[in-house]
Amino acid sequence: MLYLLLGFSVVWVCHFAYLLVIDRQARQLQCRLHARAKAAPADA
């Protein structure tokens, strides 16, 4: 039972860790897009 729990935990942890990484990258991209949008009127 211990190994079964360990196996399923590894699967869910790995999947959610990768989803978290992608989520973080999406937030960073959003920040960069916001920064560009704020900077654009000043340049014009």
Binding site: Y3, G7, F8, V10, C14, Y18, R32
Partner: protein
């Protein structure tokens, strides 16, 4: 659309896990790891097929979209290959009392993980222009694909501790595995799609900022 895809994938995986641990349980209990191990193994191999197609596509017409799909599939494939090897080792410890042994299927699966790792290291460490790096990685991706048929045929044609296939006693067990397979394939597709669009947006922004 993407949210729906991820919700469906996670829903299918939860139903598969529930079925696998209740009505579709396999005896002894540790063998139920295969409900997680097999779908992730299939997806690790499928991601390499996507990587191969994208690499050939990029070498064929040089379109950046193919290269982004190749990066996304390599990243997702690395996650699935990690799960494949980790759950395989846990199963091996529970079933045969060893964490790892140099059998053909286990060695070719470990090589699969290393090939994904090397591909991802190459992506970030090669000097030179983006187009040149993408071409080198595409060639590496095509050559590295040779390991995929090896993983598939190793346990079928060579003496191996790993079983080539598994037979089920009830329909519930087959249903649990098929639902897990469908959920994992949807998850892999969603991850590749999401990562490709993120890479595309990042690239567009960089091209705008540093033309």
């Amino acid at each position: 659309m993407r949210r729906l895809l991820f919700a469906l994938a996670i829903g299918l995986l939860m139903v598969s896990t529930y079925l696998g641990l209740t009505t579709g349980q396999i005896a002894p209990v540790q063998r139920n790891i295969l409900y997680a191990h097999v779908p992730n193994a299939v997806c690790a191999l499928l991601c390499f097929v996507v990587l191969l197609i994208a690499s050939i596509g990029y070498l064929g017409n040089g379109r950046q979209g193919w290269d982004l799909v190749a990066i996304a599939s390599a990243e997702a494939g690395f996650v699935f290959a990690t799960i494949l090897n980790a759950t395989g080792m846990i199963f091996s410890r529970a079933e045969w009392n060893i964490w790892w042994t140099p059998s053909p299927r286990l060695v070719s699966s470990a090589i699969l993980w290393f090939l994904y790792a090397v591909y991802l290291i190459l992506r970030v460490s090669l000097p030179g222009s983006r187009h040149r790096n993408a071409r080198i990685c595409a060639v590496f991706g095509i050559i590295a694909f040779l390991d995929v048929p090896l993983v598939f045929i190793s346990a079928r044609f060579l003496p191996d501790i790993h079983r080539p296939n598994f037979s089920f006693d009830s329909g519930w067990q087959t249903a649990a595995l098929m639902l897990g397979m469908a959920g994992t394939v949807l998850l892999a597709g969603g991850l590749i799609w999401l990562r490709t669009s993120l890479l595309h947006s990042n690239l567009k922004l960089e091209e705008e900022l540093f033309p």
